[in-house]
Structure formats: C-alpha cells, structure tokens
Amino acid sequence: MSATAMAVRRSATGLALLWLLAPLLPVVLWAVSSRWSGRARLPQELGLDGWTAALDAGLAPALVRSVLLSLAVAAVATPLGAWAGRLLGWRIAGRPRLLA
C-alpha cells in the first residue's frame, strides 16, 4: 500500500471515529464531573457525585427493568421479524431482496 493510500486510510478512520465518538464526549464528561460551572472549558472538579445521586434516585432497579424489558422485546421481535422477513423476501417477492 502506498504512503498516500495509507494516509488516506488513516484519515478516514480518524474522521469516522470522530463522527461516532465525539457526540458522546459531553455526556461522559458530565457523568464524572462534580463541578463544571460558568464557561469553564473542562470540569473544575471530577467525582462520582452524579452516580451517587442517580443510585439514590433508583438507578439499579431502573437498570434491571430496562434489561428485562429489552430481553422480552428481543425474544418476541427476533423470531417474529425473521418469520416476517421470510414471508416478505421469499414468498411475496419470490427472492430475497431489500427494496428494488
């Protein structure tokens, strides 16, 4: 692979990671900040105060409920979706296809 191709590939990988991960940075930073006031560029004090407050507000049972709900939805939706996909793809369209 030429040096130019390697540079293009690295730039593309970097841009892809920037697009995918940068939007999540503020929420991650806020989750580990105990104080980030005014127009400060970075948190003035790191800490887990937010996590403590979330645990007091019922984070653990909410997490359990979310996991149970998602497992139930996946258990129902996956076989139904596969079944419906077979119907749409093979029986109606005559062959597996997406749209055209």
Binding site: T13, L20, L21, P23, P26, W83, A84, L98, A100
Partner: protein
C-alpha cells in the same frame, strides 16, 4: 399436483402468515383506534360525538408541522445515508476500532445521544465553552429556526445503522468484484461508480426509507432539540395528547393520523419507485 401436496402448501401458507397476525392486531388495531378518536368516535368519557372538531382544532397547525417534520426527516435521512456509506467504506477496509464504535453508537439510546448533542451545541454547551463564544453569540443550533441539532442527532445515530446494513449487503464478494473491475481496466473512480455504488444502492434505498419513516415518527430527539413552534407532528400530537383539556384528544389523534399517513404515503411511493427501477434494470436491453 396431488391432494397431499396441495394441503401441505396451504398449511405452509397459513404458517407463513402467522407473523402478520400480531402486527395486524397491534398496528392495525392501534391505528383504527387513533383514526376513530380523531373523528370523535372514541371519546375518553361520555357518548361518541362523530365530527371533525379535532381536525378543525388542529387544522392551522398541521401545515407548518408537516413542513417541520419533512425538513428534519429528509435532512437527517440524506446526511445519514451519506455518512453511513462513508462509514461502510471504512468498515470494508477492515477497522476493528470503527466497527466497535459503530456498534456502540447503535446501542446508545436516542435520548442519551440527543442529550449529549444538547450539551455540545446548546447555548452554554461545550462547543460554546471551547470556542470562547460570548453570551448571545453562539448560533441557534438548538431550538433555532432550522432543526440543525435535531438533524445531526438523528443522522449520527442512523448513520451507524445505514453503515452496518450497507456493509452486510456489499461485503460478500466485494474484493473479487473490485479486482475483476481493475483487471478489466476500470480506474479507481470507475470502480466506485460502476461497481461499489450499484452494489450498495439497494441497501441504501431500503435503509433510507427506514430512516425517513423513523425520523417522521421520532418524538424524543425533536422534543429535546427542536423549537417549540412550529412543532413536528409527533411533538404536536404528544403535547395535545397530554393536555389537561380532554377535548384535545381528537386533535392529538388527528396530528398522529397525519404523521402516519405521511409515513405510509412516502413508503408506498418509495416501494412503487423501487419496483419500477428494479424492472427497468432487470429488463433486457
């Protein structure tokens, strides 16, 4: 054909149709109830009073709401398709980091992503802090005249979905097709336009339709990042549905019916156009 084979085929057809039943009951029943509510046939209390009061109440809001919905959903779809295709190309080259990040984005709830975008782009957000923008000088990306933050938040999440579907459609045999095209003398740009894009087009069309329909019906992102007037259809519908005035229920249902009709109409047009393109491409020259 023997009787036994006919019975077997009929039993197979019935079994194939079983998954349609829950969809018909949940989606069809729900839709019928919403339509009936919009025409005053299912009041929360009292006797049904058939009429168009709900539609009349929301009539002046529907036009701007449809426009706002189309602006944000079409914008998010176009951006998600462009970035999703680019991400799929990076994934095709084989990057485990980008693959892990793409899966992570899919796992993040829309509301968490939208909250983070708010913390980035809102007035006083991290973007304004990092650039040192003074009070009132940061552009109205959140709740401004154009749904910039809403489009970005939806496109960010949906681009990961587009990338993975396009990757699954294009990856099998991709290297062989590109090598064959190169052997036949195709230049890099021609390999992209004549080989890669046509093999990705059906997946792009299908995911584009899914993203468009999802964006039309998406509530939480537009509620958090959009302006309060005019509202997109789902936000308008949910606000009226939660109103303390119970007579607002038919108006909420009318907005919901309009959103559903918009999504269904665009789906029918897209499927018909897709079938036509498929016939044209499949026809002998």
């Amino acid at each position: 054909m023997t009787l036994g084979r006919q019975e077997g085929r009929q039993a197979g057809t019935v079994a194939d149709l079983l998954p349609v039943v829950p969809v018909a009951v949940v989606a069809g029943g729900g839709m019928a109830a919403v339509v009936a509510t919009s025409w005053g046939l299912m009041p929360l209390y009292g006797e049904p009073t058939p009429g168009a009061d709900g539609w009349r109440q929301v009539a002046t809001d529907l036009g701007p709401a449809v426009r706002e919905t189309l602006v944000l959903s079409v914008g998010a779809t176009v951006l998600a398709l462009g970035v999703g295709l680019a991400l799929a190309l990076v994934l095709l080259a084989g990057s485990p980091l980008v693959r892990a990040a793409t899966l992570a984005v899919l796992a993040v709830p829309h509301l968490v992503g939208a909250t983070s975008v708010l913390l980035w782009l809102g007035d006083g957000g991290w973007g304004a802090r990092l650039t040192g923008a003074g009070p009132g000088t940061w552009p109205e990306l959140v709740a401004g005249p154009w749904p910039v933050a809403t489009v970005l938040a939806l496109a960010w999440k949906e681009s990961a979905f587009v990338a993975l579907v396009v990757l699954a459609a294009v990856a099998p045999g991709h290297r062989e097709r590109m090598e064959t095209a190169a052997t036949l003398g195709a230049r890099p740009l021609q390999r992209w336009t004549r080989v890669l894009v046509p093999s990705a087009a059906p997946a792009l069309a299908a995911t584009g339709l899914v993203v468009l329909v999802y964006s039309i019906g998406s509530y939480e992102v537009a509620w958090l990042l959009g302006r309060t007037s005019p509202e997109p259809l789902p936000v308008l519908s949910f606000r009226l549905f939660g109103s303390i005035e119970l007579v607002d229920r038919p108006a909420a249902a009318a907005a919901a019916v309009t959103g559903s009709a918009l999504a269904l109409g665009l789906t029918l047009v897209a499927v018909a156009a897709g079938a036509r393109v498929g016939r044209t491409l499949g026809a002998p020259s």
